[in-house]
Symmetry: C2
Subunit: 492 residues, 2 copies
């Protein structure tokens, strides 16, 4: 086998790292907490970007670009936002290096201190709303629907590839509206865009819901989230969409003249997903052989491995493969022929399994003679010898089957691990075993905090489209009355 992968059952966390590293998705860089996204990993991220970008544009969102740096004073403008964000971040204090007077390389030039420090954006609400002030004066200027694809930095002490890194890539949408209703609607529309993407493209059966006030984005009146279950039963927040009310408009004095000629503050949303999705992809679908990529995100959907014992056999097999490749590509799928002559077929099989390629075709001289090909699917690890006749059309269907099967498997796993729970004793036991627990909650931050301290579990969301359970009951911890169940889990 190509590269040894730790088994999930032995060490889940090490298994995750093995997949990220050995499948060539990413690696640590020379800068603490910052990762390098390698070409194979970046190709997956690019597919995510293209599909999401098209979905945003269908909602009339336009891309733009705002500065990397934010003046420190901006962080003092929105009080709650400061508390949530302004702490662990990269601070630029100087703008020049100089030769070390001792001749040892370069040092920071003490004379080049900035008048006001600049913060490398951890998120861009403040700099964007300071810009929107110039763009918006009348109801005719609304809505403003902008998105940017950008890098952001949040200084994290403990980092993990994709899941938590000091620098990460993301998109952040920032919209401005004339009414609260329209902004709320936008926040809901965008969380559904994320949910559709997660389900149909990433094969992630996410739960959509509202965050509890405690878990809201700093400065938001409402935060919507998509929550995914990983194979260890932990939750991963995969995307969020915020209704920001008029908080940022008030902080940056963004007002518009409404149709009645009166001045009003503008209503805001923001929403984002990041390279964290790559972590979700690895952990939701991978197995002990490596990545399992949903076909819609796989940079290579079909890999072909030739099997031969002579130059003549090699040429004949490759000829046939080239022909098949064209047929499959004509149906819109990406195909790679692995013709490396220094590696044995078994090694190649293991490598492409590690990299999660959905379909593998192997063909040798005997196949040529009998008009067959071996078709292996990554999701089930099964293989089948099939007639080469009509194989392109078969693969077209097979890729769709695999996409669906990966989703169904994740859905079945999730459904098997979501439970109603009405006993605090039981809660404490079960939450440790990787369950999402549907429990009654009294709606107070105090209870939420007490449960978190006792078990590390948090309210992942108050669900809106699956596991919705509006019924009378009593809080799992406090015993106070409650009118709906919420989702508790331990999260990444």
């Amino acid at each position: 086998m190509a590269k040894e992968v730790t088994k999930r059952s032995e060490n889940y966390s090490q298994w995750y790292n093995d997949l990220a590293l050995k499948a060539d998705l990413a690696e640590q860089s020379a800068v603490r907490g910052c990762m390098v996204i390698k070409p194979y990993g970046y190709a997956i991220w690019e597919k995510m970007q293209h599909i999401l970008d098209a979905a945003f544009k269908e909602k009339d969102v336009q891309n733009a670009y705002f500065p990397l740096f934010i003046p420190k004073s901006f962080f003092s403008k929105e009080a709650e936002h400061v508390a949530g964000f302004a702490k662990e971040c990269a601070v630029v204090t100087h703008h020049r290096l100089m030769n070390d007077p001792d001749g040892k390389g370069v040092v920071v030039d003490p004379d080049a201190r900035l008048e006001e420090e600049l913060i490398v954006r951890p998120t861009s609400e403040t700099i964007i709303w300071s810009t929107y002030k110039n763009w918006i004066t009348s109801w005719r200027d609304l809505p403003v629907l902008c998105n940017q694809w950008a890098n952001v930095v949040r200084w994290e002490m403990r980092t993990r590839l994709f899941l938590r890194t000091a620098e990460f890539l993301w998109q952040e949408g920032h919209t401005a509206h004339a009414t609260a209703e329209e902004a709320q609607q936008m926040a809901e529309t965008m969380v559904q865009v994320y949910a559709d993407f997660a389900r149909n493209v990433m094969a992630l059966p996410v739960i959509v819901g509202h965050k509890s006030p405690n878990e809201r984005f700093a400065g938001a009146l409402d935060t919507l989230t998509i929550e995914a279950m990983m194979q260890d039963g932990k939750a991963l927040q995969a995307g969020t969409s915020h209704f920001l009310g008029q908080n940022f408009a008030k902080s940056f004095d963004v007002q518009f003249t409404n149709k009645e000629g009166k001045q009003e503050y503008v209503w805001a949303t923001s929403w984002g997903v990041s390279t964290r999705l790559m972590g979700a992809l690895i952990m939701a679908h991978g197995d002990d052989n490596g990545l399992v990529l949903p076909p819609r995100l796989a940079p290579i959907q079909v890999v072909m491995v030739p099997i031969y014992r002579s130059e003549e056999e090699h040429n004949a097999v490759i000829d046939k493969m080239e022909q098949l490749k064209k047929e499959i590509e004509a149906l819109g799928h990406s195909v790679k022929i692995d013709d490396r002559d220094t590696l044995r077929p078994g090694f190649k099989f293991a490598e492409w399994e590690l990299k999660g390629v959905p379909v593998r075709l192997a063909m040798g001289a005997r196949d040529l003679a009998s008009g067959t090909v071996e078709v292996a699917r990554r999701d089930t690890l099964t293989k089948e010898t099939m007639s080469i006749e009509g194989i392109a059309a078969h693969i077209d269907t097979l890729l769709e089957d695999i996409q669906q099967n990966i989703y169904n498997k994740a859905l079945a796993f999730r459904d098997a691990n979501v439970e109603k729970c009405d006993s605090w004793e039981e809660f404490q036991e079960k939450i440790k075993t990787g369950k999402f627990l549907l429990c009654h909650w009294d709606g107070t931050a105090e209870t939420e905090q007490a449960i978190k301290e006792a078990t590390k579990a948090t309210i992942r969301c108050i669900p809106v489209d699956s596991y919705v359970c509006e019924e009378e009951g009593r809080d799992i911890y406090s015993g106070k009355p409650s009118s709906r169940r919420v989702v508790f889990a331990i999260s990444y």
Copy 2:
């Protein structure tokens, strides 16, 4: 007219700013030297990105992503590179803010000083070659062909939208090769990719050539460039491709085992274009009415303005326009119907001229009756009433004509302003009037420097595919012998 634009003849520099601002391409941000790229400007940049990205991928280049930050010590590793780059840059010294003890917002936490300062990348050779060390051990690992689309920061004191900003967006390709020849070939291939893009997509008749040693990228053995002439006769360096030799491989100890089993240092290239191209686009083609966009980069290729005096006329015209829009879109062109009811047609005409939309269609009740439409082209500012029959096919051809015409116009302008010059007296006069002068040069940095000090002119390139002039002569300044002419100009 919508927004007044300064005339080129009155104030060229103000004209440029007017176009960038009033055509909604970009604006200054709250952060000194950093711009906001507005949706209309970003849509053009996205088109550039998509076309270039596809061209890179055709050359087997893969995208990846490397950290924003570079440890300060890395800048001491490649001596020439330091001298060229390490000076004016954004330096991160701290990783935390804290509440101001005086209660006035936030201040930098003095306890959160980084052990080693981090530099916001001005270019990524150093961090990338520190990564390549992990990727390359054998000739089998070569070539490595990576590109990244990223933001970079170079602290500039005097900034201008797109042309010189503290933060800008770019792509930087970084390739690693087993031999010098292969790396040199790659640098040449990529400068030709840029030249093709400039000529065929941006309608910029660029001159391709080598930089003189003085003007090379810091750390390069050879720099290839594409140089464009702006309408004031100044040169704009629009893209560069560098053969870096083994300098970075040696600095970061990147060696590979060759086929003979011996250790060798790897050979490098790097190449990039940036949002500076947006500045070139504005200045090469714009006129006193605004932007003139080559159809291949125009976010909106055809705009339709309805003319009506009643609700009934409005509906009839819009119906017809919707139908036309579908036909034109089916041919692969982007169309916008400007149905804003608060603005007069004349205002709309001026606005779309300002924004450089290649083709404008106007239609009123009389046109409907006679089966005609008014077709206006932005490049020539001419208009013509045409039969609506077959108009979609006509526009298809027209857009191609406009693309070609914009190129031809720029080419004719350039050819009229490139001259051979053999007299130093004449040189000093002519260079001020916005000419590219083809002159003999003795090949020394001293002469180049003296000419620059006397006239501000620099050697833009030693041309390789146009204006190549290998002949014996005498240096324009020193009178020493020379065997070829080079291009001198004053540059942006």
